[in-house]
């Protein structure tokens, strides 16, 4: 069976890979958007924190025998806690300064963290054993869908929806949105805004770590895994528009699929298509598809 001269097996296969990549783009750019919205900091450490999440899961399994499901909970908390320390000791000193300082600091931190992990674990990957319940695949008739990949898509959709719900539909989220607009006034109403900023950074970092745990069984766990991902994720964020929650989610999944389809129809462009789209979007709508001009 062919579609436009392409075997459907290959088409759906690439579409699935696109959706999986899109799931990670969405979860990563979501964290970046939340952090940028409140802290005004472009968190270049995000990729390293994703990698730390994957390593944390690997440690928990190899050294403590703690499996995948507990890692989904523990790794974001542990890595998020390191984020809290980074915010309290370093980032909080930069809020009065230009964006550039936050970017430089977080970029430097990313290099240090990746360097330390490379020093101890080399650049070759550590395999993360797939949990037994995910062995096998669903036969959908037109293709085989590995169970774990199906889970990643469903779980990331749940994470994205949950984050959107908390920000747009809860009391906590209304504090967050209000503090993004006017932190001084929200604090003058009696809300401890500095603490909220710290916890928001921790939560954004936790999201990156959660994506890292989910990535561990698919990609090998290696110190550079985040560095490779973060460049694409920044392009995704630029296309979607900084600070927009729904924009980050839709753009993440959408661009993953576009990338997958490009692999089918014009493989030579598959590594550059996102950046080409980024240039086009910047020319037409500099604030991004879902961003507001500031």
């Amino acid at each position: 069976m062919d579609v436009l001269g392409i075997p459907t097996q290959a088409l759906f296969g690439q579409l699935l890979i696109g959706l999986i990549n899109g799931a990670f783009y969405a979860m990563m750019s979501l964290g970046l958007a939340v952090i940028f919205g409140l802290l005004n900091i472009i968190n270049f450490t995000h990729g390293a924190q994703y990698m730390m999440g994957a390593f944390c899961a690997w440690f928990l399994l190899e050294r403590a025998g703690i499996g995948y499901w507990w890692s989904l909970l523990l790794a974001p908390v542990i890595v998020g806690a390191t984020g809290v320390v980074i915010e309290r000791t370093m980032l909080s000193r930069l809020y009065q300064l230009d964006h550039l300082y936050g970017l430089l600091l977080t970029f430097g931190l990313a290099l240090i963290i990746q360097g330390v992990f490379t020093n101890y674990y080399g650049s070759s990957g550590q395999p993360y054993r797939l949990p037994e319940e995910f062995a096998g695949a669903f036969n959908l008739g037109f293709m085989f869908l590995p169970k774990y990949r199906a889970w990643v898509i469903v779980a990331s959709l749940l994470v994205c929806f949950g984050t959107w719900f908390v920000i747009e539909r809860t009391k906590l989220g209304s504090y967050l949105r209000a503090a993004t607009e006017n932190p001084a006034l929200v604090q003058a109403f009696g809300v401890n805004v500095p603490r909220m900023i710290t916890l928001t950074y921790g939560a954004g970092v936790g999201l990156a770590a959660l994506a890292g745990v989910m990535a561990a069984p698919i990609y090998s766990v290696n110190p550079q895994m985040g560095a490779n991902l973060i460049i694409v994720v920044f392009a995704v964020v630029v296309i979607g528009g900084m600070g927009s929650i729904l924009g980050a989610i839709l753009t993440g999944f959408g661009l993953g699929v576009v990338e997958g389809l490009t692999k089918v129809f014009y493989p030579e462009a598959s590594n550059t298509v996102i950046f080409v789209i980024m240039v086009l979007v910047l020319l037409v709508k500099p604030a991004g598809l879902f961003g507001k001009e500031r």
Partner: protein
Amino acid sequence: MPEAAVAETAATAAAGAPLLSVRGLNAWYGESHILHGVDFDVAAGEVVTLLGRNGAGKTTTLRSIMGMVPRREGSILFEGEETVRLASNRIARRGIAYCPEERGIFASLDVDENLLLPPVVREGGLTVSQIFELFPNLQERRRSQGTKLSGGEQQMLAIGRILRTGARLLLLDEPTEGLAPVIVQQIGRTIAKLKVQGFTILLVEQNFRFAATVADRHYVIEHGRVADMIRNADLDANMDKLHDYLGV
């Protein structure tokens, strides 16, 4: 400050501790020294205005009481306790609420969310239905985006949302600025009702004709200091002086 006014301020202080007592308040924005030793008192249940020209330091005085300036010194006693070194969220928790001149309605929140945003800090605040009784216009617009309201409705929302919190001292910065006369009257009636309910209100005003309809006393701020204190009853007798101060 003329001696009579100083004596008056001291007398208020002596007759039972005032709710708010400001002494020697200095404030800075970066290198600019804005307040140079502001002294005044507000008794519980009073409506007091700060009058003065643009740039005299009225808004900075409110923001200093609220802890929203980068640097301040002196003494700000609220219910007899020092607050000058507290962060603004701790000051709010003591029972002071602030309504900024630019109103500070949040664009990413609808009217309900704006109204419910400030946390309740004490018992005794108005309920949401009492707030809608004061400002019926708001009730019909509950789902609207906050900044889609008219200027008058935004001002009502900005005042309404701090009435829920149970704060007893309200700092209102130019609540009538840029509003139509009919809305100004509505806000005047609201302030009168709030006074009856026992709220204490410190009001910054450019419009002293409006101030005269709601306030018990007026402090004139000049060059970052209190230049004079005029009781509302004595306002007519002091009109020439006041015109001089305000340059109107």
